[in-house]
Amino acid sequence: MRLYIRNLILVIFTIGFAISCSSPALDDYSDVQYHLMDQNGESVIFPDDYEGAPVVMGFIYTNCPDICSFITANVSKVYNEMENPGETQFVLVTFDPDRDTSEVLKNYANAFDMDKDPFQFLTGDPDVIDQLMTRVGVRTQESYSREIEDGERMYFLNHSDKILLIDSRSRLIFDYGGSMTPPNIIIEDLEKL
């Protein structure tokens, strides 16, 4: 409830802001290059490879079934409910690259029926992921862990809940609460680009 109101306020504020000045870039990523890898093990560079079309980008880790599944499903929903997705790109980036390898992301994408265009799941070298997360304002901290079979440890993360809307010129246009933002709000914003 509190979250919902907070996000509603955020959304209203953001819309108000958008109306008051037409193109309010919150950040511009064109000065950086993050070398990442998609779920097929192919190298990609963000933002260079994404220039030319808008990007809807969410941040997840696959051992998180509630909030992160929500974020993943929301990104999928934005695409499915768009009348004219055009060249829009839909990207989910893990902030847990130690465990979320390309192969793990591929299985995850497959379970959500998203291992296909226009969806992409990205991982990378932990240092690079760390730099990217710092830049986009996604924070994580280890919460609790469980001892599982063969002495292995399963741990969970506390994390920011975010979906970003980036325009075709690598500029950050909107920053949403990832799990709580209704997809139609993101669609409306995409249509304004």
Partner: protein, 160 residues
């Protein structure tokens, strides 16, 4: 200050959610027809999950008995570990997840487990859960005993 029991929070959350959609408050409460006795599970669904990964199950737990009930255990043949969890908001806009302790299901009441709140967490999945699959979950209650529920795997709740 004594922390509020998580399930009480969930019930409060549920009531708050219902009262928000003011025009369907009646509809919302009548949407749940409590059984005459015992516990009934409705609207159960599970998130997709990868092999060795995790998933979450959501549902409404309707307790028709006058007595409060408690959950003793959870099990499913597809997961090595099953726990009742809750998602909560930390400082600085961060989200976390923790095990819900001593859940109580009030007499003649409904506990709603929904995304962003309570979920039954499946860990160490021994098979992938793809959209369209169905899994089985057994909830063992102190009074109502074992309840086995079929749970469809969906990318989101069919209610929205």
């Amino acid at each position: 200050m004594k922390p509020v029991p998580p399930l009480l929070l969930s019930i409060t959350f549920f009531i708050l959610t219902s009262s928000c959609n003011s025009e369907n408050t009646e509809l919302q409460s009548s949407q749940f027809e409590l059984p005459d006795s015992g516990i009934e599970i409705t609207d159960a669904w599970a998130r997709p999950g990868r092999i060795n990964g995790v998933s979450a199950i959501y549902m409404n737990v309707l307790n028709g008995s006058a007595e409060p009930d408690t959950l003793i255990s959870l099990s499913s043949s597809i997961a090595g570990l099953v726990e009742l969890h809750e998602t909560y908001e930390l400082a600085d806009d961060m989200m976390g997840m923790r095990e819900a302790e001593n859940p109580v299901f009030p007499g003649r009441g409904v506990v709603s487990m929904q995304p962003g709140g309570f979920h039954i967490m499946l860990m160490q999945l021994n098979q992938p859960l793809n959209v369209g699959d169905e899994v089985h979950l057994v909830l063992k209650f102190a009074l109502a005993g074992d309840i086995s529920v079929p749970v469809p795997v969906q990318s989101q709740s069919e209610q929205n």
